[in-house]
Subunit: 179 residues, 2 copies
């Protein structure tokens, strides 16, 4: 990394510690020597699962997202527990939200969702060797499974029913794999 692109932490103000996220305001020394402020959200990280059934449908879960004030359909996903292995978390979340057991999870990608203000890192897996398991969601989690074709998924992007980065990445990935 070039020296030019670095910001040294001068002071951290821990503004908020929540159930899911923490927020800090950091005083930093900018690359030009001036001081600046950065608002930083800490998040434990998450997994998301691309799961396509034998009948060539992608498994999505519809869920009300309070931040958006609407329900959207997303690929199955969930937060990492402290110290949890992402692959095991992916298997756990897929089964809990959809009732699908996946014996095999292939690592597809990992990405930061909002590098401008948050450290949330999402690990994306592709599920394989599917069998039937048991749905079991968290007590404050309400999801509805829907299985969609590629055409249906692309239409749901147009209507805004699919509207988040990880799911749109997954649909694009699926389309590319089919080509």
């Amino acid at each position: 990394m070039s020296r030019k692109l670095f910001e040294k932490t001068i002071k951290i103000d821990p503004v908020f510690k929540g159930k899911i996220i923490d927020l800090e305001v950091q005083d930093v020394e900018l690359p030009n020597g001036e001081q600046g402020k950065r608002e930083v959200v800490h998040h434990p990280g998450a997994v998301a699962v691309i799961c396509v059934t034998d009948s060539e449908k992608m498994v999505l879960v519809k869920q009300y997202r309070k931040a958006l004030e609407k329900a959207i359909a997303e690929i199955p996903a969930g937060k990492l527990e402290k110290g949890e292995d992402p692959r095991l978390c992916a298997q756990r979340e897929l089964e809990e939200e959809t009732g699908i057991k996946a014996a095999y999870m292939k690592e597809v990608a990992s990405f930061y969702t909002s590098p401008g203000f948050a450290d949330e890192l999402v690990h994306v897996y592709e599920a394989a060797d599917l069998s039937t398991g048991e749905v079991h969601t968290d007590e404050d989690e309400f999801v509805e499974r829907i299985d969609v074709t590629l055409e249906e998924a692309k239409n749901m992007i147009k209507t805004g029913e699919i509207h988040d980065a990880k799911t749109m990445y997954a649909v694009q990935y699926w389309e590319m794999m089919k080509k």
Copy 2:
């Protein structure tokens, strides 16, 4: 939307108002009638630009991201000013960060980056009709332009130099367009 997937707001606690983000803790009524808490980050929204030059290179900007404590290469992007048209914002940000003027901006997608806790919506455009303009970054913004081939971009994903959702979506989009 099915009645089942809705969370009614009972109370909003405005925890923090920052330069870029605001944070609220909301008491909500869950679909089963129980109460829950949601941590919600408000963000003004952003634009991001897929810009491929005549020599078939994608234009990226390298930037230190305090939340990640590393520099990563991203497609040119920036926050929306209050009331700003996303297309004009995309043209403005592309020129400010890279010195490229784009007479034409095609809407490619829009997505929420972290629907679990934030309302940040990113509008993704593809730039066309390119000409030379003038670099002019914000006073607390330090970026380094790099132009990369598709192979280079794919390698940078492997090494973690490209590591965020919008840029990985953009690289996948570019690869799909080339097929």
